[in-house]
Amino acid sequence: MAYSEKVVDHFNNPRNMGSFKKDEEDVGTGIVGAPECGDVMKLQIKVQDEKIVDARFKTFGCGSAIASSSLATEWLKGKTLQEAQQIKNTDIVQELNLPPVKIHCSVLAEDAIKAALNDYKKKTEEKK
């Protein structure tokens, strides 16, 4: 299977790869997928004043899964929490030219974004 140039670029030069400390107050973490299915994504956001100031990812999965999560971190940075909710898997499919068999990678990335946002929301609510 031939990969799109953008997938190859994200694979070779992953953006924002790494981890934040999970227990920090301003960090939201989402882990989705399962090793048995061949992909697990961890997506993290760092939030200040309702705005995502930084993001990190780590992914176990195929090239498209890695590219989808790398792209997601790029898109998350600078967005408000509300704007981040609007990111759709179809946007990722379009940007990376993912073929039909790789659509589940983009779905997983959207799930990871949602999970990270929820985790942050839960943390801040617990604080109140």
């Binding site: 190859v8 694979f11 048995e36 061949g38 961890k42 176990f60 090239g63 899964a65």
Partner: protein, 405 residues
């Protein structure tokens, strides 16, 4: 070094120049139909086919008359299973095979089940991928017509105890088919000693041309009969009609002759190179697991799972090396390798498996380069892997509640 490096010799092999050389005259100059009995064009073609038949038969210790030419091993498997189960229908309706067979056998067995009412037993394998002869014995009923067990597995290279299975088949008077596609030309095969009644193999796995294969069909003790699946001019003793592809057959013959001559030295060279690759990788990386049998395996096969790294991404990271993975992402089915699953390898490690298939034209230099690159990319992808991070933090991944999707 020339790039890309080809380390996928289980899928196919490059043709040997010496094979091509003997084939060339049979395209334009000596184009006759081997079935033309009345003129020198036909005689010349027939002579070439019969010479090739000898070369092929010699490699497997058979008689030339026992070689039936087909389009390849898939057709041979189909012909053996469908042909025998149909011909001996009055004797019984039971077929024994194993879970790790090639799809050409498994899917044929499934068709026989669903379309012809044949009962099929799929034997399990041990953790190395080996069939237990006792399981074969215990699965036999008075309705069993055929046992079909592969010589060596195409993914993990494990070699089955064929001789023992052949003995059981003889003892019980049941026919024994062996898919030997990965083994012929690589390891010694003797249909007499191994008690094989039918055997599938093909040319393109042994540095010959694509598009031709053979089914060995025993003529004596017992004389095996089968119903053809292709009807027509009655070629190949009526078992496989169709004009013989003379140039391909000539190439197939030469490929077998070369394998026979070179096997003693070549198998040692390949096994040494394979171990060099294995040691090069396994001494430098932790949590890598060998799939298949440690010793009873094809000399040119290496199959390794790299924990916490997904196979397709690994292949993507070493694009200049042609390899294959058991990861679901590299298959059309979205399921990881059924062969590794049958061994009891977890889905996670099946997704992380890479198959290295060495061949006649690989060099130590290529092997060393490959080991270095694999170590590099696995290290890089583990840095990127949340699973590796969790494992390093002491989290037991088996206790995590994953969200399956």
């Amino acid at each position: 070094m020339k790039f890309p490096i080809f380390l996928d010799n289980h899928s196919t092999t490059p043709m040997d120049q010496r094979v091509l050389d003997v084939m060339l005259p049979y395209f334009v100059e000596k184009f006759g139909n081997a079935a033309s009995r009345n003129h020198p064009f036909g005689w010349e073609a027939e002579e070439a086919v019969e010479r090739a038949r000898q070369q092929i038969a010699h490699l497997i210790h058979a008689d030339a008359k026992e070689i039936v030419f087909t389009s390849g091993a898939t057709e041979s498997d189909n012909l053996a299973l469908k042909g025998v189960m149909d011909m001996y229908r009055e004797k019984g309706d039971h077929l024994i095979t194993s879970l790790t067979e090639h799809r050409a056998v498994l899917d044929t067995a499934k068709t026989l089940e669903s379309k012809r009412g044949i009962k099929v037993t799929y034997l399990p394998v041990d953790k190395y991928g080996m069939v237990n002869p006792d399981d074969v014995r215990n699965a036999i009923t008075d309705k069993t017509v055929l046992i079909s067990i592969m010589l060596a597995n195409n993914e993990i290279g494990t070699i089955n105890p064929i001789k023992e299975i052949g003995k059981i088949a003889k003892e019980k008077g049941i026919l024994f088919h062996c898919d030997a596609t990965q083994g012929v030309g690589k390891i010694p095969v003797d249909v007499q000693e191994m008690g094989i009644d039918l055997m599938s193999f093909s040319a393109h796995k042994i540095y010959g041309p694509k598009g031709v294969g053979a089914l060995y069909v025993r003529k004596k003790g017992p004389r095996v009969r089968l119903t053809p699946i292709i009807d027509g001019g009655g070629h190949e003793r009526g078992m496989r009609s169709g004009t013989l592809p003379v140039p391909l057959i000539v190439g197939f013959g030469k490929a077998c002759e070369l394998c026979e001559q070179e096997m003693p030295a070549e198998s040692v060279r390949l096994a040494t190179m394979r171990d060099r690759l294995k040691d090069g990788i396994m001494t430098k990386l932790d949590e890598v697991y060998l799939n298949g049998h440690p010793t009873q395996r094809l000399p040119h096969n290496l199959n390794i799972s790299f924990a916490y790294v997904e196979g397709e991404s690994l292949l993507m990271g070493v694009k200049e090396i042609a390899l294959s993975s058991g990861s679901a992402c590299t298959s059309a089915t979205l399921e990881p390798s059924y062969v590794l699953r049958a061994l009891g390898v977890g889905s996670d490690l099946a997704h992380s498996s890479i198959r290295f298939g060495l061949g006649r034209f690989n060099t130590n230099e290529e092997v060393d380069y490959t080991a270095t690159r694999i170590i590099e990319i696995v290290t890089k992808l583990r840095e990127m892997s949340p699973l590796y991070e969790m494992a390093k933090d002491g989290i037991d991944l088996k206790t995590v509640q994953w969200s399956a999707h």
